[in-house]
Structures are given as structure tokens and as C-alpha cells.
Amino acid sequence: MATRTVVEGVTIARRKRFSETYFGEWVMTTDHKKLGIMYMATAFFFFLVGGMEALLVRTQLAVPDGKVLSPEEYNQVFTMHGTTMIFLFVMPMLVGFGNYVVPLMIGARDMAFPRLNAFGYWVVLFGGFFLSSSFLFGQAPNAGWFSYAPLTELTSACGANAVICTPGLNMDFWALGILMLGISSIAGSLNFVVTILKLRAPGMTINRMPLFVWMTLVTAFLLLFAIPSVTAASLLLLLDRHLGTHFFQAGAGGDPLLWQHLFWSFGHPEVYILILPAFGMISEILPVFSRKPLFGYTFVAWSGVAIGFLSFTVWAHHMFAVGLPPVAQAFFATSTTLIAIPTAVKIFNWVGTVWGGKLNLKVPMLFALGFVAMFLIGGLNGVALAVVPFDYQVTDSYFVVSHLHYVLFGGTVFGIFAGIFYWFPKMTGKLLNERLGQIQFWLMLIGVNLTFFPMHILGILGMPRRIYTYPDNLGWNELNLLATIGAFIIAIAILIFLWNFIITLRSGQPAGDDPWDAFTLEWDTTSPPKPYNFLVLPVVRSRRPFYDKKNPETADWKTATH
């Protein structure tokens, strides 16, 4: 019960303020840990929504001539699957991790701008609700997650013999939703940049920052430079649709390719925005469970920076089929090849970290290793897509669908689950059930390969993406059925995780402050941490400050040279 001091020494009971109630504490909070958890919970909710959409897609395509969804419903569902997963699941989830973990890792008491942080969260939440509410009107976005103009224009404006483009509110929901989420991303990125550059604990030089902090910093810069492009594109689209401009209309002096250039100069950095923080998580988790420091810290960190820079030079590899001049295509093939080099360096360093270690195969480690194994496939078939003449064949086919899911599901989602299992004890003070986690991991590994590996072959067998149905005589039936079975196996794995989550919250095993014998500062405080994070701000003398504290004899600052 809250109290009020009447005169010194005499207090009386009073009603709790809203901000003191359990509910109000969350709604009114500016604490980075609470906001981080809210980000993650929201993202996970949208993960379930996007997952349901994926299951609808896979159910429709399980057999030829599927009749589960009408064509219009299918188009809305696949568009919202992509949009939801990218903008409402992966991005907020990674921001959530960053929010929770980064200030703890750098020994700060909070983010630099706590209110801005809260603002960013609420914009994501309402932006997400706004986007999803389009289903209530039956007018969800329906032009694919990259919304190519002129299909996204009003029908009257998109060409003399167009049958139908987008007369309804579908694209207005999309464009306005993306604008809102962009505002949140810019706010969040500024906050990360300032927090990481200004609030590090004494002794934590840039060169001693944990890799997750490095990657969050690179991601924040990518967002700052990439989001304006999609913001501009969305605004121009809204102007075209409602104020009669013609930015994307060929007949009226505009150009449909303008959309593609604007979208992909956001869209490709975006791909790295979705994966770099996961790279960071893996670079934290592999060393702890290998009982070794990260192999080649400098190379892993700077290859992340290199990826960040190069990611702004590769956008037109999404557009090899649009008829760019051969020299331009050669340029983008080259830049795409170049970006594969730092990515390869990262993978080798992760393997180097594991090599010679003492591998503790707990669930976070399983997911981290699964990440490396699956992301490698996504990297290799990504290189195949940079092979321009081969890309003419497989772009916009199921091969691309396979590639992007190996990267985003086999990569990012495995990274996210590694992160959840790793930091959950810090956030709640309880350990997720190991057995259920193992079952979930193996089901997911099987599910991912069963769903997405056949899609390579479907693409090679000539199946275009985004078709709501296919005939039964083209040899695509069995592989599609396999993919659908795989999708449901993944769904079961996710249900097992939810079950694990619930029983752990109710009666999970206490974790203690440092269940993994970890190396970084977030473990050098209570689980969950107090609102002020650290009683005394830590002093950092190497890249593994908490390892140093626990092993004073063999501390890194005594033996290593940084």
C-alpha cells in the first residue's frame, strides 16, 4: 500500500498512483529492461500472427488447386506474412534484445533517452495494430512486402489497359504503417547510437565492446541511412494515390523503376538490419558455451562494419531481371560477391571459436550452432543468386523464397531463439526447461529443412513465387506437400516453446545471477537486474570483464594485448 507523509514521521495510506499499479508500472515505464521485454513480447505476438499467415499460405499450397483461400485472400495473407515477419516481428524483436541487453553489456544504467525509447515502443505497438487492423476491413495490403508500383497505384492511374491495381485502402494501410514503423526505428536507432557511444562503463573502449553491442551499433547506423529511402517511397506512393502526382506512372512522366530503386536501397540494408544483431548474439553465445573467447574479435567486428557499408551498394541485385545495362549488372554482381567475403570471414571465425573449445551443448548453444549450419546454406544459395544469368532463371521463383527463409528463419530466427534461451534467465531469474528446448530445437531444424529445402528444387522446376495455386501436372505436388508438412512441424516446435515459456514462468528452476558462467557485464548483476542495473558501475579492463572478475589469475587483461 502506498503511503503519503502528512508531517514528518506520520504517514497515512493513500490510493496507489496508476504508475504504481502492476499494469501501470509497465504502461508508464521508461526502464530499458521493461521496454525491452515489452518489445519482445509484442514481437513474439506478431511472430505468432505471421506464423499463422504462413500456415495459411502453406495449407493453400499443400495440394494443387487448393481452395482454402480465395485468390484475393491469399494475396493479402502472403503480403501480410512478409510485412508482419519483417517489420513487426524481427525488427522489434531485435530492438527488444538491444534494449534489454545493450545497456547492461556496456555497464550503463539505462538508454540515453528513456522517454524516446518508450515512444519508439508505443509507435511500434500501435503501428502494428494499425497495419493488422486492415484485416478487419478486408483490405489488408495485397501487393507483396515490397509493394511494386504501379500495381500499388489506384486502378485509374496505373495504365490504360489495367484491369485492377489497388483501388481499396490496402496500400494506404501499408504505406502509413511503414511510415509509423520508420519513425519508431529512427527514434530507436538514434537512442542506440548515443547510448553506445556515450554511456559505456569506464574502461570499455570501442575496441572492448561485446560483439552484440558492435552489431547493434552498425544496425542502428544502417537504419538511420536506410529508413529515409522507404519513407520517401511510401510518401510518394501516398501522393500518387491521393494527390494525383505521377511519380511511379510511366505514361505520365514517372517511372515504375523509381519505386524499385527507392525500395531496395532501403530493402537491402534492411536485410542486414535483420541479420546483423543475430550475428552479434551468436558471437556472444558461441564463446560462452565453448569456454573460449571469440576467435578473431577484430575481424568479426570489422567484417560487420564492412557488411554495413557494402550493404548500401548491392540493392540492384534484387533487380537483375528489370533490364539494367550489362555494365550496371556487372557492378552489382561484383558488389554482391564482395559482401559475401566478410560474411564468410564471420562464419569461419565462429567455427574457429568452437574449434578446440569445451562445448557445453545447452539449448542456446544448439540454436547458435544451428544458426551457423543453416545460415551457411542461406549464404551459399545467396551467392548463387548473385550469378546474374542464373538469377535470370531463379529470381521471383521459389528458389528465392528458399534463400530468404534460410537466411531469415535458419539464420535470424535461430539466432533469436538462441538469444531467448540465453538471456531468459537474466530477464526472469528462471531457466527455461532444457529438455523441452532440445525437442524444440530438433523439431525446428527438421522443420526448417523440410519446409525450405524443397523450395530450392521447386524454383529450379519452374515454380514462380506468389502464385495462389498451381496445376497438378507439373511435378510440383510432392515437394509442396513436404514444405507444408515442414511448416507444421515448425508450428509444433513453436507451441512447445510457448508451453516451455508458461511452465517456466510458473515453476521454472531458479537461474541464479550467472547460470552460464558467462563473460560479459550483464551477468555481473542480479537476475533480473534491479532498475538501476548495477549497484556500483563496473570498471572494464578487457573484452571479457566478467571473466576477468571471476578468473583474476588468468584475466584477459593480463594475458591478452587489448
Binding site: P71, C165, G323, I347, I460
Partner: protein
């Protein structure tokens, strides 16, 4: 049919079983069935593109096996055991870093050189060619043989062993033109008159499947076309037959009744040279939004491939269709919006007799 083979190995033990399953299904899928595989090539463009695939696959497989191999070996070899010692705290090694920066670069540049070499090698050869203007509609393809002065819909017919030059045009949304077995895709973009070329080496028994590969709205799934390859002289015969106008008056009374329905109901959207058009370039055809039907009877597909046209399943006897359910054209004319929701053909309900008459008439348009 040649079968795409995947030589990639899977990382875990179950992986073997999985690949076996995938290969098996691939095998089952390609037995006794037509599949528009990009590896089952019938022309120089597709075959160079496929060649690059095999090259890339070999390189990728080497990297895949090496990295996954080391990873799995480390997982087994360095797994924590009761008496495992504390590992040596190694922070890195610059020599190793340089090696594994340079090594993948070599692999990648090998692939890049192959890419650029093939890319420039795919430029259209000089010399005689057949030029076709490809017009992407929502959701069907129009093929305008500009020099021969006729048009077809959903049906591209080309001579064997000849360079076919395509001019890709759209005045609605973006489409993408793809014949997996003959050539990769090029987008059909309003305001950008893209060009592409291909060559078909073999005469077809079953036409190749062509597809739209860029999402273009509600019926993107049904924007296919068929590609028939004829020997050069057969192609000339075909061209002269396509240039003919349709008979002004069909002799068969059922077909004649069908023509009456056409002129009263259909000619607002469709053209037939000899009936409501003087020739294929009649200015009146500008206002017609549906496919030109002058030689419908000789085609294979209906409405972007949503149904197939096979006269043997659509026999009309005494003004009645023998079997309505097996006749694709019946299904289409009976309920075009049910078959292909959202398409542009919105018509009143036709009676079965009217449909039979139309089928008889359209069949006569060879």
C-alpha cells in the same frame, strides 16, 4: 526428361534421410510428367544459364561440405566430457584470418568471372531473327508478330533454331516473361521497352510452359502461355494460316448460331478478323480489351492457361456438348468469374445451348 540432381549433403544424420526423401520426391515428380525445369534446357540461353548453375553448385558444395564438416567434427570432437580440460584461451590468429579471407575470395571471384563472362556472352547474336512484340495484360499474354501482321494470345509459336527477338511491352503493371526451358526472365515494365532473345533447338511435341514471374495482381497465378517450336517450313505454313481472316459465314449451322452470339455479345471485347475486324491492325482493335480470337481453334490454352483447350473433349453433336464437364471451354464460358476470379470477362449467364454453339464456332476458327 533430364532430372536436376542435388549433390549437396545435409549437416546432421537425419539429413541423409531427408536428402534421400527430397531426391525421391524429385524423382517421382519428374517421372512421366512434364516439368518446366530450368535444367531441362532446349536452347542456348537456358543452357548457358544452367551451365552456370552446375558450376556454382560444385563450388558451393565444396564450401558447404568443408564448413559443415569442420563444424560437425568440432561438435563431436570438442563436446564437453567429464574430464575435458579447460580450453586454451586463444583470441585469434592473423595468419589464419588472412588465409580464410583470401580463400573464399578466390572461390567467389571464380564464380564472379564465370558470371560476367556468361552475362556478356548472352548478348543477342547479330543476324536474321523473328521479331515478336510481347504485350503483358492482366492476366494474359498477347504476341504480336509485327512483321507478319498478325496476333495471337497465350500462344507463342517460333521456328526451330532461329533467334527470336522479343520486345516486351506493358501498359498496366509489371509482368515478367519466363520460359524456364528456353530462357530466364526479363521484366515487362510500363515505359521500359525491354528486349530479350532466345533460340529453341528442338521441335516440340508438348509445348513448353511459359509463365509470368512478377506478381501482377489477383490472377498472377494464371498468366501462363505455351511455346510451340516448329520446323522452319512448318513455321512458314503456320504463319500463312495465322494471317488468314476467319470465314465470314461458317457452314455448320451450330457454328453459325455461335457466330451470331459472338457478334451480339462478345465483339465488344474480342476481335475476329473477317467478322468484326478488317485485319489484325484494324484501328477498331485498339478498343478491344480481350484477346483476338481469329485462330482460337488452333491454340492450346484458355485465359492465361487457367484451362486448356482440347477440341477432342469438346465435341458438339446436334447442337449439344457431348460432355460438358470435360470441356475446358464450356467451364470457362459457363462461369469465367468462378474459374478465374477477378478477371476482366464479366458476362451474363449463357445457356448450355448458347455455350455449345459458341464452342462449335470457336472450334471452327483454326
Amino acid at each position: 526428361m533430364r532430372m536436376p540432381l542435388f549433390r549437396e549433403m545435409k549437416p546432421k544424420r537425419w539429413g541423409l534421410a531427408l536428402s534421400a526423401l527430397v531426391l525421391l520426391s524429385l524423382f517421382l515428380a519428374s517421372c512421366d510428367q512434364y516439368t518446366p525445369s530450368i535444367l531441362d534446357t532446349h536452347g542456348p540461353v537456358a543452357s548457358r544459364e544452367a551451365g552456370l548453375f552446375w558450376f556454382t553448385l560444385v563450388v558451393a558444395t565444396i564450401v558447404f561440405v568443408a564448413v559443415e564438416g569442420v563444424l560437425i567434427y568440432s561438435i563431436i570432437r570438442f563436446r564437453e566430457r567429464p574430464n575435458s580440460p579447460t580450453p586454451k584461451q586463444i583470441h585469434g590468429n592473423n595468419t589464419v584470418e588472412i588465409i580464410w579471407t583470401v580463400a573464399p575470395s578466390l572461390f567467389l571471384f571464380a564464380v564472379l568471372i564465370g558470371t560476367i563472362y556468361t552475362m556478356f556472352g548472352l548478348a543477342q547474336p547479330a543476324g536474321p531473327n523473328v521479331e515478336v512484340k510481347v504485350v503483358g495484360h492482366q492476366w494474359w499474354w498477347e504476341f504480336d508478330y509485327v512483321h507478319e501482321n498478325f496476333k495471337t494470345a497465350d500462344e507463342l509459336v517460333v521456328p526451330q533454331g532461329t533467334t527470336i527477338q522479343l520486345d516486351l511491352v506493358s501498359n498496366n503493371v509489371i509482368h515478367s516473361f519466363w520460359i524456364p526451358q528456353l530462357t530466364g526472365k526479363t521484366d515487362v515494365i510500363p515505359g521500359h521497352n525491354n528486349r530479350m532473345w532466345f533460340q529453341a533447338d528442338n521441335v516440340t511435341t508438348t509445348p513448353y510452359r511459359g509463365e509470368c514471374a512478377e506478381f501482377c495482381g489477383i490472377q498472377h497465378a494464371h498468366m501462363d502461355f505455351s511455346v510451340t517450336v516448329l520446323p522452319k517450313d512448318g513455321y512458314q505454313t503456320w504463319v500463312s494460316s495465322q494471317q488468314q481472316a476467319a470465314a465470314t459465314q461458317p457452314t455448320d449451322p451450330t457454328a453459325l448460331a455461335g457466330q451470331k452470339i459472338f457478334t451480339s455479345t462478345c465483339q465488344g471485347c474480342h476481335g475476329i478478323v473477317g467478322v468484326n475486324l478488317q485485319n489484325f491492325n484494324d484501328p477498331k482493335s485498339q478498343g478491344l480489351i480481350g484477346p483476338n480470337l481469329t485462330h482460337f481453334g488452333s491454340r492450346h490454352l484458355i485465359a492465361g492457361g487457367v484451362l486448356t483447350w482440347d477440341p477432342s473433349t469438346c465435341q458438339v453433336v446436334n447442337g449439344k456438348l457431348v460432355n460438358e464437364n470435360s470441356c475446358g471451354l464450356y467451364q470457362w464460358l459457363h462461369d469465367p468469374q468462378g474459374v478465374k476470379p477477378g478477371n476482366d470477362m464479366v458476362i451474363g449467364q449463357l445457356t448450355d445451348t448458347q455455350i455449345a454453339q459458341l464452342v462449335a464456332y470457336l472450334e471452327s476458327l483454326k
